[in-house]
């Protein structure tokens, strides 16, 4: 563990623990690239709005978390790239190299010639075991490069075959081989109207398996991110590149260094450990989602000013009313009055009005962050009865601004946000399963009907648990 201490009253610098990212499949690799790019761009941004020393500490911490250094000074992403066909990885590697600012390790990828065909069973039962040794070997090498290891960040989609199937397989392996390390899976929820016809099958198989082997599932829904691009960013012809950049922005605003409330002398050291500690108090509840404010195009940003009060008010209402973004928030939704019995358990048949949380984390970045008042998030009415708000809510701050935003706030929430989407996916998968459509494609590779039933059972359990908060 390296320690650099400055003299005087400048913050002492305890370097961060490192995160190893595993990018799987087309989606995982495309997003992974945007995430590393966003992290490094922000850390080099000249608009940090703080002193040079602060900027340097921020940069160093960010670098230690996500990059290792090469002799000629070009940071190398701490990442392992996995895909079963070569086109996307080739593109990802060259895009990173072209940026000139960072790159992927030369030997950090594992690639095959033929993809998983959108088939979870093929990814999990054929490709996974076949390539287990090679993939785990690459991961091990990356972990060994870390002086201090925080855990794994696995980026994957649920809808396809590689990210979902191999992602589930690898996560399980990580649980076996690195039982003391943390695993956070970044999961991309596909568009509801379909990118892949068997996406619901692939999704339920993925989620049920990850629920057993992962420590936290950080979920991003394509539909929600798409709306942000359309309504907040005003992008006319939205591409996956746009979607991925919004996603990367949200992840960056969570993962960049922050101070804890207690100590403002050094940045928090353990990005994954800290997140898990605050947000996943019970293994039955591990689905997390992100909301951030503000989010807008650069043009609009030039004409906007923000107050912490305004941002936090919106963010709180987004939490309570289950809004996915800053537009169209339903201001009528209110938490049940404290002291009164709750208004009955949430029923999926009625519209979800109030979103109950298990735990929330708010991260504030930017000017005058010390003046930001987060009392509204400590209201016990927001939370289930089984955690004291002092344990359920946490806030991290840094005056160092993020990306182009003078002030920005992000909420990472373990709440009922994802119940409805999860329920929908389970419902659609169930309807399809009842007709046995496409099942032969899975049984061909060893995933039987019982495996499907097991998955359905697990996920119904998760839905029910969250519903009954």
């Amino acid at each position: 563990m390296r320690m650099v201490v400055f003299r005087g009253n400048t913050p002492s610098l305890w370097l961060s623990m490192s995160v190893v990212t595993v990018q799987l499949g087309q989606c995982g690799n495309q997003i992974g690239f945007e995430v590393f790019d966003a992290l490094l761009s922000d850390s080099h941004s000249s608009q940090g709005l703080c002193c040079k020393r602060e900027n340097e500490a921020y940069q160093a911490s960010c670098k230690e978390r996500f990059f290792s250094e090469e002799e000629n000074g070009v940071p190398i992403a701490r990442a392992v790239l996995v895909d079963m066909e070569p086109k996307v990885i080739n593109q990802t590697l060259s895009k990173a190299a072209q940026s000139g600012r960072w790159k992927y390790g030369q030997h950090a990828c594992f690639c095959q010639k033929q993809g998983s065909g959108n088939n979870w069973a093929y990814g999990y039962s054929v490709h996974g075991p076949r390539h287990e040794e090679s993939i785990m070997d690459l991961i091990r090498k990356e972990v060994e490069k870390c002086d201090s290891f925080s855990g794994f960040f696995i980026i994957m989609s649920m809808a396809g075959g590689t990210g979902s199937g191999i992602g589930a397989f690898v996560t399980q392996n990580l649980q076996d081989q690195y039982s003391n390390s943390l695993k956070m899976n970044q999961i991309i929820w596909p568009y509801g109207t379909g990118e892949v016809i068997v996406q619901n099958y692939n999704s339920i198989l993925t989620l049920s398996h990850l629920y057993r082997s992962s420590d936290a599932l950080l979920v991003h829904e394509n539909d929600a991110v798409h709306k942000i691009c359309a309504k907040l960013m005003n992008i006319k012809q939205i591409s996956f590149s746009d979607i991925n950049q919004v996603l990367a922005h949200q992840l960056g605003s969570v993962f960049q260094p922050t101070y804890s409330a207690e100590s403002s002398f050094h940045y928090r050291r353990n990005p994954l450990g800290d997140l898990m500690e605050h947000l996943v108090p019970h293994p039955e509840f591990k689905m997390l989602s992100i909301r951030n404010v503000p989010h807008m195009s650069e043009n609009s940003l030039a004409y906007s000013t923000f107050t912490w009060a305004g941002l936090l008010k919106h963010l709180r209402q987004m939490l309570i009313s289950n809004a996915k973004m800053e537009e169209g928030i339903d201001w009528h939704v209110r938490p049940p009055l404290s002291g009164l019995p709750s208004l009955g358990k949430m029923s999926l048949n009625k519209d979800l009005h109030f979103n109950t949380s298990i735990a929330n984390l708010v991260i504030l970045r930017g000017k005058d962050v010390q003046s930001a008042d987060v009392e509204g998030f400590k209201d016990p009415a927001l939370y289930t009865s089984w955690l004291e708000p002092v344990n359920a809510f946490n806030v991290w701050k840094t005056q160092r601004a993020f990306s182009k935003y003078e002030k920005s706030a992000v909420l990472v929430s373990n709440s009922q946000f994802l119940v409805k989407p999860l329920d929908m996916i389970v419902g659609k998968a169930w309807n399809m399963f009842a007709s046995k459509a496409y099942i032969h494609q899975y049984t061909k590779f060893g995933i039987e009907e019982e495996d499907f039933l097991d998955s359905f059972t697990s996920l119904e359990q998760v839905v029910a648990s969250y519903c009954n908060l």
């Binding site: 068997v198 939205i238 996956f240 089984w386 309807n431």
Partner: protein, 490 residues
């Protein structure tokens, strides 16, 4: 990246195949400016040093020396194949890839399947094995043939069983030209039905196409091009039928335009596997997403746009028109009306400057007018390939697993029965060794069973979609069981 081998059988199969190779070369030439042999080209072509005698000439990377098609050409008459070998594409094939005879199959499935099947079995196997050996990772066989004749129909389907046995892990995608009602081969219903049984049992995926539809599309294009109704001129290279601007000049043959449409179909089908894009779709995903039950593997295809106007900037309305057209019955390559039948699944394979929001907007717009089966209400598969076809800025291939194939099969069955009841021409078949009447009855049964599957699905068409009762779970975890002390960070 994977490779595919094209097996073109019979007169029709080889003519279409020829157009395909011509267009494939054109497409890769347009994309691959530097003449480097890359993975995209290797999907359909080998790179060979022609100075090396025998087999050792393959070059896996570097500059393109001489491209050879990954193809096996089979015909029991010499005419078409000879013409190919004397024509401008002769360098793309070599004699080692051909199997020909002189007498032809006489429009008799039994002759093609049984006589020539057994006669040429070993040779065919040898050529197939050779072509597989030249592949780093063989993913798919594309078989091109017609259903109505003898060679394409009989020998073409004999191949299928052989491919299934010999290369069980390699996909078998069959492009089948079905005979139109006015087909001049009297025995085409016999040949087609006998072939259908093989397609049912041994193909992974079939793209049925009929000549009448192709002809109608040509007429429509001619009308548009010549009518002067369009304000701007049509780009000459952009016709889905055109081979003008092709690398090598060829004499225009009667079916050229129609064959080019089919050739374009195959190119577009494989584009997302060969070229990069924001949402790739490999060939193994076609089967996975579009074949919900093994026997229902017939996919109706449509290609749009049929032509591109010279406007470089495409406003969204024209883009949206491309999507609308894909669902119109005039654009289908089979006489079928998917809009008024039931969708089991639909794939939209987009090429060019089209983004995910364009696709989503159009799916939302068109969905209400389409009927999807109850268990697959959002049954869309999407792919986005960055490279457009030559002469276009964007294009769309729609593949539909839809009950609209049923009328084609039913008509075929009717024509078959009309002949079979009278035992017309039956003796030509029965005199072939191994052929019995049971072959016919079994073939018809197989088709009837398939039609029945589609009927059952159609019966569900207008029924309201109900959500099925879900599993009910006993809640193991209740809030009373959790106290602050029991919650720990694990």
């Amino acid at each position: 990246m994977t490779q595919s081998v094209v097996v073109q059988v019979g007169q029709c199969g080889n003519q279409i195949g020829c157009c395909f190779w011509d267009l494939a070369l054109r497409e890769h030439a347009a994309v691959n400016q530097k003449g480097i042999y890359d993975e995209a080209i290797s999907s359909f072509f080998r790179n060979v040093d022609t100075r090396v005698v025998g087999d050792g000439g393959s070059i896996s990377k570097g500059k393109i020396c001489s491209l050879k098609a990954r193809a096996v050409l089979i015909d029991m008459e010499e005419g078409v194949v000879n013409e190919i070998l004397q024509g401008p594409l002769r360098d793309v094939f070599d004699t080692k890839q051909l199997i020909t005879d002189i007498s032809g199959s006489g429009n008799n499935w039994a002759v093609g399947h049984r006589v020539f099947g057994s006669l040429y079995q070993d040779q065919i196997l040898e050529k197939l094995r050779k072509s597989a050996e030249h592949c780093d990772c063989l993913q798919c066989f594309f078989i091109i043939h017609s259903m109505g004749g003898g060679t394409g129909s009989g020998l073409g389907t004999f191949l299928l069983k052989m491919l299934e046995d010999e290369f069980p892990e390699v996909y078998r995608f069959v492009t089948s030209i079905y005979p139109s009602g006015e087909d001049d081969v009297i025995t085409s219903p016999y040949n087609s039905i006998l072939a259908m049984k093989e397609l049912n049992e041994h193909a992974d995926c079939v793209l049925p196409i009929d000549n009448q539809s192709l002809f109608d599309i040509i007429s429509k294009i001619d009308l548009m091009v010549n009518s002067g109704k369009l304000g701007t001129t049509v780009k000459p290279k952009s016709l889905v039928t055109s081979s003008s601007g092709a690398l090598k000049t060829r004499h225009k043959k009667p079916f050229d335009a129609m064959n080019n449409i089919v050739a374009n179909l195959l190119l577009n089908l494989t584009s997302s596997a060969r070229f990069e894009g924001s949402l790739n779709m490999d060939l193994n995903e076609i089967s996975m997403n579009l074949v919900p039950f093994p026997q229902l593997h017939y996919l109706v295809s449509s290609l749009t746009p049929l032509y591109t106007l010279t406007d470089v900037n495409i406003p969204p309305r024209r883009l949206d028109q491309m999507f609308s057209d894909a669902f119109s019955k005039d654009h289908q390559l089979l006489r079928a009306d998917p809009k008024h039948s039931l969708y089991l699944a639909c794939a939209l394979m987009v090429r060019g400057n089209v983004q995910i929001s364009d696709v989503r907007r159009n799916i939302e717009r068109l969905k209400p007018s389409l009927q999807f089966v109850s268990w697959n209400q959002e049954g869309w598969k999407t792919s986005l390939c960055s490279i457009p076809p030559v002469g276009h800025s964007h294009s769309l291939l729609a593949l539909a697993n839809n009950t609209c194939v049923k009328p084609t099969f039913m008509e075929l069955k009717e024509r078959f029965m009309r002949l079979y009841k009278k035992k017309a021409h039956l003796h030509h078949y029965l005199q072939v060794e191994g052929m019995e009447e049971s072959c016919f009855t079994e073939a018809v049964s197989s088709l009837s069973a398939l039609i029945q599957e589609y009927n059952q699905l159609d019966a569900t068409k207008n029924m309201p979609v109900q959500d099925l009762p879900r599993l009910s779970i006993a809640i193991i975890l209740s809030s009373e069981n959790i106290s602050p002390g029991s919650l720990q960070f694990l």
